[in-house]
């Protein structure tokens, strides 16, 4: 070994040319997927027309213009927000709990958000159903998103408190799943005593839908998700430190309490906001971080965060396209599709890498 030379070639925390290439490729794919998502649907609209509508040029058919502008673009935007938000919150949770199976839906955070939503939806009174809440407009949206975030934060806080006592990954998972089950059964109990119409409304919501978010709601969702994702990006450095576990993180000057609060806040915002409007979407949060790690071959969150955003968005758009079963009249619930796509992808990643690492 000669004198210590700068090991820039070894520096795996940097943006190498290969990684930038991956990122550019993903961005291009994302653009294509976005356009395809807008083009595909139960009503066949020629791509050229879609393109014209997008760039506000004259179109032959006003119905097409309405469909693209009022339905497909908001839906695609919702897919982008949901995919991005769920993936980064999954990444955060996997690092915080040092657990490869952590994710908003696995540890009961989504259930917590559901509990918040169900509280609003099924509570007796004038603002009973989601339908009426939608009628209420912006204030109603904030109400339901607020309830979901509070529910998510409550469960997250509970799980984090317990994780402080239990160091074992498997035990932690079991407890997370148990908390999720308790929450679910509280919800079921609530349903049992509610009127059938309300329950049907709720059940439809649980199937998940990207199409129900429009107009002002989309802006609200965008604001919430952007704030959550920005916090995630800013927390990259603390997440890196947490890769070595709490003791090492503290020895490097990290205040664990503060790190936890930051992660709880952003995860609750993301999982709560997205769940409130799109229903409990599973699997994206668990699967995407693994795909990002496999593709970029790193643990550095400065690289994984943008990678998760892109892959999550791409996967969500892809799921949405499948949900529409091009040129058919039915639309599948998005929650079913994400599990159908997400689970095999996750299995494929595990088999290919032959291991699954938490961080």
């Amino acid at each position: 070994m000669g004198a210590a030379t700068p090991l820039s070639g070894h520096d795996t925390t940097r943006w190498s040319r290969r990684r930038i290439l991956h990122l550019t490729g993903l961005s291009l794919l994302l653009l294509i997927a976005f356009l395809m998502d807008i083009t595909l649907g139960s009503v066949r609209i020629p791509f050229r027309q879609v393109f014209r509508i997008l760039f506000s040029m004259h179109t032959d058919d006003l119905t097409w213009k309405y469909i693209v502008e009022q339905i497909r673009i908001p839906k695609a935007c919702t897919a982008v927000l949901a995919g991005c938000g769920l993936s980064v919150s999954g990444l955060q949770m996997q690092t915080l709990f040092r657990n490869p199976l952590a994710g908003p839906d696995v540890l009961g955070i989504t259930s917590g958000a559901s509990l918040g939503v169900v509280t609003i939806m099924l509570s007796e009174g004038s603002i009973a159903a989601l339908y009426t809440i939608k009628e209420l407009g912006i204030s109603g949206s904030w109400l339901i998103i607020g309830a979901a975030c509070v529910g998510a934060a409550g469960i997250m806080l509970l799980v984090v408190t317990i994780s402080g006592r239990i160091r074992n990954n498997v035990m932690m998972l079991i407890i997370g799943v148990m908390i999720g089950m308790i929450t679910q059964s509280v919800i079921s109990l609530w349903q049992y005593f509610s009127s059938p119409e309300l329950v049907k409304d709720y059940l439809l919501w649980t199937f998940g839908s990207l199409g129900g978010v429009s107009g002002s709601q989309l802006y609200i969702l965008a604001v919430v998700v952007v704030i959550g994702v920005v916090i995630c990006f800013l927390s990259s450095k603390l997440l890196d430190a947490l890769l070595l576990g709490e003791n090492y993180a503290r020895s490097m000057g990290l205040t664990t309490q503060r790190a936890r609060v930051i992660i709880i806040c952003s995860t609750s915002l993301l999982a709560g906001g997205i769940t409130a409007f799109c229903g409990p979407i599973g699997f994206i949060g668990v699967a995407v971080p693994h795909m990002a790690r496999a593709l970029f071959n790193t643990s550095s969150h400065r690289i994984l965060m943008p990678a998760c955003c892109l892959i999550g968005t791409l996967l969500m758009l892809f799921c949405d396209m499948i949900a529409q079963l091009p040129a058919s009249q039915t639309v599948l619930p998005i929650n079913v599709v994400t599990s159908l796509i997400g689970a095999p992808v996750l299995i494929w990643v595990i088999l290919r890498k032959n291991n699954l690492r938490a961080t």
């Binding site: 210590a4 070894h10 795996t12 070595l244 020895s251 490097m252 000057g253 643990s299 690492r357």
Partner: protein, 340 residues
């Protein structure tokens, strides 16, 4: 030594655990210890004597029950976590192997207290990382994933990370556990050199008594019950403190050699005379089968080891007769009968 401020100093420090609102279980203390620049200190003690607890308390990972720790003259409690991280770096027993991290990224994390808000590294950071990897002899490992490293390689990388943190004090909790003998010696040697060359104060807890006796500038000997003896290793041996702390039934600390003997005598004596390494190994063999080895005395059995033309001969004198053996095992087979 007199005018210098210690890197670390404790005043009546009591370490232990708090349970509930009032419950406290004292592990050790009150302790008054000091660490100076350039010192390698080995913290020794039987299992469960509280070495890790003491290390965790000194490094600030765990609150003290009573007393205080000063780092370079400043009370540790007054240092903000990022500032404390620039004073003390740690190598812990916590596993980091279940991560997708590669060795370079892990060492780079050592720059955490110095890097910007997004954790971006400057050219100066990269230089220190390169130095740390080189100093820990981990240059060939930087591309490898942590999960693929052996225990010894893992320790080198963790040491490099602590070095990259560039602190005047380093504390290592049982860094030699799980390592094979050559790796253990190599690591201890490395720490010894680092203390000398970088003037760091290094505190390690270890079970390697013989290695600690060789490399430590100072030994802290923690007794079960929480009493701590400090001093140069030689003083502690000569005062008989080593023996007092570690003696268990059937194990004896031999002051003359600085090693532990694990055999109980069978009450019989045998004489031994000769020169060279053969005598040393013959003595070991005799002790193993239970003899107490003495000078050769007329009338009692004795062994004379001679070396001629590269050929070693063991002559056993017993009851007036003499038998010659050409190996220790052949000698032992006769002595076995004799000791029964």
């Amino acid at each position: 030594m007199i005018a210098k401020t210690p890197l670390l100093q404790s005043q009546d420090l009591t370490v232990g655990y708090r349970s509930g609102s009032k419950g406290r279980s004292r592990v050790a203390g009150p302790l008054n210890v000091e660490i100076y620049a350039g010192q390698l200190i080995c913290l020794l003690g039987p299992n469960g004597s509280g070495k890790s607890t003491l290390l965790r308390t000194l490094s600030g990972l765990q609150p003290a029950l009573e007393g205080a720790v000063q780092i370079s003259g400043i009370p540790a409690g007054k240092l903000r976590p990022p500032d404390l991280a620039k004073k003390i770096s740690l190598v812990l027993t916590d596993s980091v192997r279940d991560s997708n991290l590669d060795a370079y990224s892990l060492v780079a994390l050592g720059r955490y207290p110095y890097s910007g808000w997004l954790g971006t590294l400057s050219a100066a950071d990269s230089e220190i990382i390169a130095w740390a990897i080189d100093a820990a002899h981990a240059g060939n490992l930087s591309d490898r994933k942590m999960a693929t490293l052996s225990d010894g390689e893992n320790q080198k990388v963790m040491l490099a990370r602590a070095l990259a943190q560039d602190t005047p004090l380093m504390m290592l909790d049982e860094p030699t556990a799980h390592l094979d003998l050559p790796s253990r010696i190599q690591l201890m040697q490395l720490l010894h050199q680092l203390a000398r060359q970088t003037r760091k104060g290094i505190l390690i807890s270890t079970h390697e008594l013989d290695l600690a006796l060789q490399v430590a500038d100072e030994v802290w000997l923690l007794e079960e019950g929480g009493r701590l003896h400090t001093g140069s290793p030689e003083d502690l041996v000569l005062k008989g403190i080593f023996g007092a702390v570690f003696d268990k039934e059937g194990i004896l600390f031999d002051k003359a050699t600085g090693t532990f003997r694990m055999y109980q005598g069978n009450g019989k004596y045998i004489g031994l005379t000769g020169e060279g390494p053969s005598v040393f190994w013959t003595k070991r063999a005799l002790q193993r089968i239970g003899f107490t080895v003495t000078e050769v005395q007329p009338g009692s059995p004795g062994i004379r080891v001679t070396e001629e033309n590269g050929q070693t001969t063991w002559a056993l004198e017993y009851k007036g007769g003499e038998q010659k053996h050409d190996s220790i095992s052949s000698l032992l087979s006769v002595l076995d009968d004799l000791s029964e």
